[in-house]
Amino acid sequence: MYTQKVIDRFTNPKNVGQIKGANGVGTVGNAACGDIMKVYIKVEDNIITDAKFKTFGCAAAISSTDVAMDLIKDKTIDQALRVTNKDVINELGELPTQKIHCSILAQEAIGAAVADYQKRLAKEEAKRKKDNN
């Protein structure tokens, strides 16, 4: 069912974990459909310097998130938001039809982490403006 690349990423994921001091954290999915992905990013000067994940899900879900982290590391926020599920699938070789939704969820997980980062940024900016006044 799975390519060797999926199996390798599943049995030896490189990017599992949390980031202390992460400035963007996003969670997508739900237990009802069997996939939850939590992504942590560290953004410095608009560049994602570190990205880690925790996933509850099948081999396709775990390998998709692992790949997604590699695809956004050392990228700008804009570049990260342009990563699609097709890029994830390309990296994995292929995914069975019924597992493609896992790669889509990984793309959404990136979006959620970035959105959280941007929300925190906006909050900090608002606070700075208030302190200056």
């Binding site: 049995t11 237990a31 459909c33 939590k38 509850f56 899900g57 099948c58 081999a59 879900a61």
Partner: protein, 390 residues
């Protein structure tokens, strides 16, 4: 790498004894049993012997056993055939929420044909709600179908009670005994069963054969039409070799069930005891006593079932899971949801079904692999262990 098969609830190997019994039907006795000539008669003799063995195994008469292509066909036939044959008496059918899809989907089909179906709830151990059954059974009810033992969690129903309630209201009782045969004594007279499904490949016969027991005098419409086989009730050339294997399988299963059960229960209980003691945050599903002897359904919190199944497979261990990912749908097992598991816990459920070929040494290996892989997946999971209550 050693291979350890713990998925006997899914299918079993054909035993040597049964394979030997089948060979003549694949060799010199190849005739079509419905042919008039000697080749046909020889083949029919083998079929008759199988039929007699199955009838004896469940305390039925030879004429009450009808061969099918397996449990799915027998279940479809029972529901649809009995409903259509008895529709002049009513249009209400009662079944349970935890039936196999071959019963549930047949019921869904009947609903499109104007029948009303009640799907009885079960409690957290998987037992059908008897009070609800009594409440729902009415003037228009023509059939109650409740499985003898559940394939995912192993719970065995109170068949005698259910049959009694059905018969008090002149309602037919069918049971899917695919998972149950060989695990406990099924005497259709004693249990007062009108119709029953059995399948071959769960009891070391080949895949592709089963039967429907239909009590004498009960009307059932044919489902597979197009031939005079099986007294005109089920068309199609008989699968002689598999039927021979099936007959022998029922005979040996009933002959050996006490010894087999003892071994299976010992293996299963040893496994469950070790897992319960050595792996935290788990739940054992099903009834604690009324349960198939060789089956263990265990939910591992905070992880997903398919990924655990795959890691075990890489270590040579075969099990199965009720997670959505593995079923192809987006929802977890309907059985696990019916017993009240949350979707998250249902997704992390794995079924271990032992066979008499398994050993304690194999179980020790499996437990070690489980501990290792459950810990690995938990370290990758975003779900936290519940905090201990003060």
């Amino acid at each position: 790498m050693q291979k350890i098969y713990l998925d006997n609830a899914s299918t079993t190997n054909v035993s040597n004894e049964i394979l030997t019994e089948m060979l003549p039907a694949l060799g010199q006795n190849f005739g079509n049993p419905n042919s008039m000539h000697s080749f046909g008669r020889e083949a029919m003799t083998l079929v008759d012997l199988a039929r007699d063995r199955i009838a004896a195994g469940i305390n039925a008469e030879r004429g009450e056993i009808y061969f099918t292509s397996g449990g799915t066909e027998a279940n479809n036939w029972a529901l649809i055939g009995l409903a259509l044959a008895n529709k002049s008496k009513g249009n209400h059918i009662i079944t349970s929420k935890i039936e196999h899809h071959s019963v549930l989907d047949a019921c869904k089909k009947l609903e499109t044909l104007g029948f009303e179906v009640t799907y009885l709830p079960v409690d957290e151990t998987g037992l059908v709600d008897i009070a609800e059954l009594i409440h729902c059974i009415g003037q228009k009810t023509i059939l109650v179908s409740v499985m003898a033992a559940n394939n995912e969690i192993g719970t065995i129903q109170n068949l005698k009670t259910i049959a009694k309630i059905a018969h008090e209201k002149n309602v037919l009782f069918h049971t899917d005994a695919v998972q149950a045969i060989g695990s406990f004594k099924i005497d259709v007279q004693d249990l007062d069963i009108d119709c029953m499904t059995i399948s071959g490949h769960k009891i070391h016969a080949p895949k592709g054969v089963g039967c429907l027991y239909v009590r004498k005098g009960i009307k059932i419409d044919p489902y597979i039409v197009g031939g005079n086989q099986e007294k005109g009730k089920r068309g199609g050339t008989l699968n002689v070799a598999s039927i021979v294997g099936f007959g022998k399988a029922v005979e040996t299963t009933v002959r050996d069930y006490a010894a087999n059960n003892k071994k299976l229960k010992m293996l299963r209980d040893y496994f469950v005891a070790r897992v319960t003691q050595e792996i935290p945050h788990i739940k054992v599903n099903g009834h604690h006593a009324q349960k198939l002897p060789g089956l263990a359904s265990i939910s591992f919190n905070m992880i997903e079932g398919e990924s655990l199944t795959l890691l075990l497979d890489m270590a040579g261990i075969a099990v199965s899971t009720g997670s959505a990912c593995s079923s192809g749908s987006l929802e977890p097992s309907h059985v696990l949801m019916a017993i009240g598991l949350t979707p998250e816990v249902a997704q992390g459920t794995v079924r271990f079904s032992f066979g008499t070929n398994n050993s304690k040494e194999e179980i020790d290996f499996v437990v070690e692999e489980l501990k290792k892989n459950v810990a690995k997946l938990r370290s990758m999971s975003p779900i936290r262990a519940p905090k201990k209550k003060a």
